[in-house]
Each structure stands twice: as C-alpha cells, then as structure tokens.
Subunit: 96 residues, 7 copies
C-alpha cells in the first residue's frame, strides 16, 4: 500500500515528469541554462498554515503541471517515482 | 499546440530578443559589463498575488520590451525560443 | 531510567527510523539526491512559545512519522537511539 | 531614433561622466580607493512605486550630477554612451 | 570570592557538564554528529529585556539541565569550570 | 570653484584627519587592530529623509570630529583632500 | 588634555582590563575557546537614540565590568589604553 504524504505549511509535493513526456509536450529544458527548470506534476499541497497561524493561499492544485527549478527542493523516491517537496513560493509557473 | 505558461506571484515570463534585432534598435549591450543587461519581450505576467494574499501591482504588461539582467531568472526553451521567468522586481526598465 | 527531553520553542524531538524499516514502508530515500530526506518519528514537541511570547501551532504530534532533511537538526544519542532536535518549520511532511 | 528607457520602481538611469570632464570640475576619483566612486548624470528616474504600492520619493532629478559607486548598478551602451541603472538608495550624493 | 556574572538580554549562563556525568545520566553525545549537542546546567539567566524595551520570557531557570550546541556560545573559565554564555533561543531542550 | 556635495538620506560626508594632527590630539589608532578606526571631520550631513519618507535624526553636525571605521565608506578626492561618504549608522563616536 | 569620546546610538566605549588584573579577580579567559571573551570596563555609553528616533535602554553604566567578545568591536588607543567601541547588544554579561 502506498503511503500518503502530507506536506507541511506552504510546501507542495510534486512528481518529476520524465524527459520523453516533456519533448512531446513541446517544452524542452536546456541543460546548459544556469538555472534550469523542470516540469513536474503536483501530487499534494501543504496544510496551508504557518506555525504562527498565518493562512497560505495555494495557486497550485493537485494535478497541475508546474515548472520548478531542477535543482531545488528535497527529493525522495516512492515506488520508483522521484518525488520532490517544494515551497510553493519556489514554483515558477503553471503549465496549462 | 503550444502550451500556455502562467507565472506565479510577482513573476513575469519574457522572451529574449536576439542580437541582430538589438543592434537595429540602437541599444548595444556590452559583454564586458560586470552586470550585463539584455533586451526581452514580456510574454506573460504573473497571477499578481503572493501566497499571503498581498496584491502585486505590475508595471510591465504583455508586449513590453524590457531590460533584464542577462544572467538572472530561470531559463527554458519552447519551440526554439529561449524563455526566462523573472521576478518583476528584478526587471530594470521598460524600453519604449 | 530514561531522561525526558523537552524541546524549547518551535523545536521537535524526533527519532530516526532505520533503513530496514523504511524499505518495508515503501519509501526509499536515494543517497544521490542533493537534499536527501529521512524518515523519523516524533518523540516530543516543543513548548509552543517563543521568548517574545508568540504562540506556535504544531502540525505534528507525538507518534507522527515525518520526513526531515537527512543532514539537518542537532543529533545526540540516548540508549542507542539516534535522536535529532529540529525546528518544526524544517519538517517537510507528515507520512501517514 | 533613440529609444526611451523608463526605469522601474526606485531605479534611476544615469550616464557616466568621462574622465576629462571630471578633472575640470575639481573632483578626482582615485583608482586606489577600496570603494571608488564615479561621477554620473541622471538621465531618467524610476516610476516611483514599488510592486506593493509603496510610493518612492526621489531626491534626485533628471540633469543632476551624482556620485555613484563605480562598480555598482547594471551597465549597457546606447549610441556610444555608457548608461547604468541604479537603485536610488545606492546613489551616494548630489554634486552641485 | 567568586564573582557574580549577570548575562544581558536573552542570554543565559551555563556550566558544561563533564563526560563522566553524562554517561551516568544515560545520554551520550556522539562526536561524529554534524551538529553535536552538549549537556549543561543553567547558572544564571539574563536580564529579560532587550535594549528596545521588549520583555523576554525565559523557559529555562537556574538549575535546569539543558541541551546546547557543543560549539555555540562564548566560553570562559572561572575557578576551573568551563562557563558558556548562550542566547536562550539557541538552547535546544530542557532535560528532566 | 569647489563643488558642493550633498549626501543622500542618512549619509554623511567626512574628511579624513591626517596622522600628524591625530598624534597631537592624544588619540593614536593602532594599525594592528582588526577593525581599525580613523579620525575624521564632518563636512556635510545628508538630506535626512529615506526614499520611503522616514525622517533621519542626525547626531553629528558639520565640524564634528568623529571616529569612523578606517576601511569603511566610499572614498574620493577633491582638491587633494580625501573625502569619504559614510552612513551615519556606521559612525562610531563623536570626539570632543 | 584627554579627549572625550561620545559613542553614537547603542554603542558603548570600553577599556580592556589587562591579564594580571583578571587573574586576581578569579576569571580566566582561555585562549583556546572558539569565541573567547574578555573583561572590560565601561568608560562611556552611547547617546541612546537610533537615527529613526527609537530609544535605546542601557543595561550597562559607566564603571561596570563587562564580558565582551575578545575579537569584536572597533579598537583604538588613547594614552596607552586600548579602548574598544561595542554595540551594547554585543556585550555578553555584567560582572559584579
């Protein structure tokens, strides 16, 4: 059974989208860019509260495809998928 | 079909303007400057809200030509165009 | 007799969960990730007050399994268990 | 036709004043100083608003001669003039 | 006669507890941890006021055993005891 | 004609006081100190306003002798005098 | 005649107390500590106002013996005494 991961605060859990999927979609991320970006799918959004009680508004929702910084966040693996936990404020854009 | 990219928060999506276009327009960006600037065209502006609910006022709009720091932002490529996502606060000037 | 450790402020005391337990649970933390994460169990939560009197809301509670940054926090050992003290704001997610 | 450059926010566009003009005016900037300054003329001032709506008061106006940090700002060239974009808060003084 | 030391502001004066005492108490601090902790006893707490008049609430009191970062604080020696002055916000936990 | 220099905001224009004057006055600045200080005379004080409209109170006035950090500020030369622009908050003390 | 030095803002002028005086008083500062402290006597306290008009409360007064960080502050010499200017917030403790 797969475990459920609930990010804290303003964090978002995303799954990196593999290269062969990206080239189909028309977006190519060059490896030479200084701050390279990466496509990913949102798997879960955080609790939406900071520890001082402030409410966090999420612009991203589960299922959204987003552009993230390729080298940001904290990675781990579950069932052969590379998952990454990001702060929402580090997500660059939503890709329709 | 080209995908639509919606920057988050105070971010702006720009397309770098190539060298041969720049020299026509009368602005030459020297390669020797310590913080070199670069001409770019605004393709999309962000959602205009931070995650704490603050409203962001955009001074730039789609179609504007802007001066950006050549080495700033996060780059990617779509249909052979180099696109860059910037925070508006890192855009230096609008070029009429 | 085991000593009781009460973290201060927004800190949380966690016990690292060993490798063999993790693979059973379906989450594998790759050693190659730049910011590797680590499973841990919450042993105690902090006092919930900062020294300027602000109240801290805890999203984690004793017994929760959490994802932490493998190299974060301050470690010590008690009765052969590796314990780590973390600020709650550095805990990435709760794992159900 | 020369393009018009409108700095954003609290930024100011200045033109560096060449050496031979400086020595006439009685101010010599030593090359050995750790933080060397440079004379410049204000060409344009920013929009005067931050993206969070705060008003910026400008103490400098178009035509003012100012002392800037020689190595600060972001440079570019237009019609053989070296132009630099500075935040007003990095301008040291007005020279009458 | 031993001098009395009154820490300022949110500072706390602690006395490091020697190794042979620690192993009796059941807590072993590994030397290999990246951020090693250290047992200490609180000797004096600060004045409880910042210079801007803010009141500081102390969670620790004289006599408490606390976990501190082994390499933090500012050390000195009095009558062969190693004393350390810490900001309360750098104390990790109280050990009962 | 000597140009007038008006520092912006909380800045202060000072003239370094030469060695032979200092030894007469009884203050010797050792070259071996890690953060060496330097005597200087205040030539002009800033406009007294930040760009967000906050008023700055000056404790120093034209003619005051002050202690500055020898290696701070931004230097330039006018009529063979070494002038330095400092933020008032970096001035250490007034010397009567 | 000795010059009077008036520290600005939250600064304090102290005179370092020599080694032979310290050992009499029972406090020995080890040279091996990473952040070594140093005994000093308060000679003058600052003006008690920041440039934005905030009042600073001094916990130390002229004549107090204090513990400072040995390598902090800005040093100078007057009549063979080593004087140091410190921000009050960097003074560790008062020694009775």
């Amino acid at each position: 059974m797969r475990k459920k991961i609930k990010p804290l605060g303003n964090r978002v859990l995303v799954k990196k989208i593999e290269e062969h999927e990206k080239t189909k979609g028309g977006i190519i991320i060059p490896d030479t860019a200084k701050e390279a970006s990466q496509l990913a799918e949102v798997i879960a959004v955080g609790s939406g509260r900071n520890e001082d009680g402030k409410i966090i508004e999420f612009e991203v929702k589960v299922g959204d495809h987003v552009l993230i910084n390729k080298y940001g966040g904290t990675e781990f693996k579950q069932d052969d998928e590379v998952l990454v936990i990001f702060r929402q404020s580090d997500i660059l854009a939503i890709v329709d």
